[in-house]
């Protein structure tokens, strides 16, 4: 039967919405009533049917609209997609991974046929049917990374592994939570995480790097991260901060439910076979407060998390200006009763 793809926008009139099924499957990131950094990495294995983990690369009802938004971002600013010269092979690795996974999880929408290095890729939702030579960049309209990530939800960072570190040497980044690929490309793991407060002192990145450099082929890993966004805007880049930043000043007690969105990133980590690099897909899920609070447990828990968040974290995540209005609005939905353990709705 397949997915019914929504017609919607992530800019201007902001018509993005989640269907009731997609609200239920939202990857709510808080397993308890408080939040602090942890090395919350676990094996990226298939999860329950009907969850975002049903397939290791998730395609959902927002697929077509997200790909259209990405094309708009790239037309405005091609620097959102870059690959340093030594990363082309890793781009082919990524193309193979995403084609295989999407065709495996959604055969009604995607088909990959291989005959040696002669490959045919059919993407029905986007109306693409291309035949190309694997490994020969001249047979695709874009480089391999750009080609496939124009057809895959989420941002993608490709990391080169050398000298015991990971180097962000390629990426497609158009739905980011306020960081610039153009500025950060070429940096190592510690450098591109430098602006994150508190976590360095806790030794989080040292442990995370040790884990990530040992990721093995066939054994991907994942973690969740989160922030908040005003309006369902995918492109909250620093490049355009002066354009979307003013949104933060528009939150009022009356419009919290419609304007404020929880933004969850499902980050996964995969060893790439030919290049020995690591790809780091950052899949962004948005949900507006009105939708989120249809699950009473999530409403109570989010209230407590946001209320008790350390100021440095609230500031880093850009919540400071509208946190009081948000906490006030959520408090009305928190009767103080206990929440059940775990992420899912009751």
């Amino acid at each position: 039967m397949g997915i019914t793809f929504r017609k919607e926008t992530f800019r201007d009139d902001f018509t993005f919405k989640n269907s009731p099924e997609h609200i239920r499957r939202f990857p709510f990131p808080f397993h308890e009533d408080a939040y602090m950094y942890a090395v919350n990495i676990e094996p990226h294995v298939v999860g329950p049917k009907g969850s975002v983990l049903e397939n290791l690369i998730d395609v959902d009802e927002h697929y077509v609209a997200e790909m259209q938004d990405r094309a708009l971002v790239l037309a405005e600013d091609p620097l959102r997609c870059q690959s340093l010269p030594h990363m082309t092979l890793a781009g082919w690795d990524l193309l193979e991974l995403l084609m295989e996974q999407q065709a495996l999880g959604y055969p009604e929408h995607f088909t990959l046929t291989r005959d040696g290095d002669r490959w045919r890729w059919i993407n029905r939702p986007l109306g693409i049917d291309d035949t190309f030579t694997f490994g020969d960049t001249s047979t695709l309209p874009y480089g391999p990374m750009e080609y496939i990530t124009r057809q895959s939800q989420g941002d993608f960072c490709i990391l080169d592994q050398r000298d015991g570190n990971l180097w962000m040497d390629a990426g497609m980044v158009t739905t980011q939570a306020d960081w610039s690929l153009d500025f950060d490309i070429g940096m190592n793991f510690f450098e591109w995480h430098a602006p994150v407060p508190l976590a360095h002192e806790k030794g989080i990145f040292v442990r995370a790097l040790k884990f990530l450099t040992n990721i093995q082929q066939g054994k991907p890993a994942r973690r969740l991260n989160w922030t908040m966004t005003i309006n369902p805007r995918l492109d909250t880049s620093p490049e355009n901060y002066h354009k979307w930043g003013p949104d933060r000043a528009t939150v009022t007690p009356e419009n919290v439910g419609d304007k404020v969105h929880l933004r969850v990133e499902l980050q996964s980590f995969w060893r790439l076979p030919r290049s020995n690099g690591i790809v780091f897909p950052i899949r962004c899920y948005l949900i507006k407060m009105d939708e989120l609070v249809t699950q009473p447990k999530w409403a109570r828990r989010l209230h407590r998390v946001i209320r008790d968040l350390p100021d440095e974290l609230a500031n880093y995540k850009g919540l400071t200006r509208y946190r009081p209005a948000l906490v006030e609005w959520l408090s009305k939905l928190d009767d103080g009763s206990a929440t059940s353990p775990g992420f899912g709705p009751d």
Partner: protein
């Protein structure tokens, strides 16, 4: 989460003697599917079931990464080793079902390099077989210098010369041919990366000269799997699991720990990757460290050991396992 590798069920598809010391083994998947793609320099850990004993030895994949119908490894017979290579030479025949790990690469090419300069000694040629195949297919810039004892023991020297012609230089010990290392290292264009695989003495020599001649450490890559050495038997107490075990002469400490049903993580089993690093709770005696992972300071401290390759002589050893 364990960082061990996933396993592959394979069948030996061919066994080919290459010369007096080296035999090549071919593996295919038992289910007939393609094997996972790998990158030049990767190894697999081969499980050898030898009666009661299980040996796990790492071997570099030497086939072209572009062809994953089969994996190939080359094993040099070591008559005084702990028996892994002898087992491969004597017991492994076409049709035998075996288990190998997913490929792991601890000797990866640095793809930024303007040029890849490769130095091989003896059986250290194997990772370069895969790397040169990968680079040649991409039009990469490489040069291989290969030292062997005699022409007849120059494993794959003929193949390499035929494939890559003047990009391969051979040096034969019996003809007193030596790499002019200082000259070689001083004439490489800026942005060259150096790779060396061979006996420990060769690796140390090359690293030392490269450092003296101003090659930054980031540009010098080496792979030397230490084979676990046989030694005197010793007893070990595993404090966490509450077991006391004996490590036989021909067994590694890691193998003895595994035989007792305790499974520390591992990737290389050659003292390189750091996965099986183990804390020492207490000891009375002396360590025989053979790894390339721990620092000299760690070795002196008596606080850590790499059970894949290192041993112990003395009265008592208690490990945090």
């Amino acid at each position: 989460m364990s960082t061990g590798t996933t396993k592959l069920d394979v069948v030996v598809s061919d066994v080919v003697p290459v010369n007096d010391l080296v035999t090549r083994f071919h593996f295919r998947r038992r289910d007939g599917e393609l094997l996972p793609t790998f990158s030049g320099g990767a190894h697999v850990v081969v499980e050898m079931r030898d009666g009661e004993r299980t040996r796990l030895n790492p071997y570099s994949l030497m086939g072209s990464p572009l062809d994953t119908r089969e994996y190939t490894i080359s094993v040099r017979r070591d008559d005084v080793g702990r028996g892994g290579s002898l087992f491969m030479h004597r017991n492994v025949r076409p049709g035998l079902e075996m288990v190998v790990s997913y490929p792991v690469n601890l000797f990866s090419l640095d793809r930024r390099a303007r040029k890849h300069l490769m130095l091989a000694g003896g059986i250290g040629i194997t990772p370069f077989m895969a790397q040169t195949a990968q680079l040649a297919a991409e039009g990469g810039n490489f040069e291989l210098h290969y030292t062997c004892r005699t022409a007849s023991l120059g494993t794959y020297a003929d193949v390499l010369r035929e494939r890559y012609d003047r990009r391969v230089r051979l040096y034969h010990d019996d003809l007193d041919e030596r790499i002019e290392l200082d000259r070689l290292l001083s004439t490489q264009p800026l942005g060259t990366h150096l790779y060396v695989c061979g006996p420990a003495g060769m690796i140390n020599w090359v690293r030392d000269r490269a450092a003296s001649l101003g090659w930054p450490a980031e540009t010098v890559h080496f792979e030397h799997f230490a084979a676990p050495q046989p030694g005197l038997p010793f007893d070990v107490t595993l404090a966490v699991s509450g077991k006391t075990i004996r490590v036989d002469e021909q067994q590694s400490l890691l193998e003895a720990i595994e035989a007792a049903g305790v499974d520390p993580p591992y990737l290389c089993r050659g003292g390189v990757c750091g996965q099986c690093e183990t804390n020492v709770v207490s000891y009375d005696g002396k360590f025989i460290h053979n790894d390339h992972w721990l620092s000299e300071e760690d070795h002196r401290s008596g606080c850590k050991i790499m059970p894949c390759v290192s041993r112990f002589e003395g009265r008592s050893l208690v490990l945090e396992r």
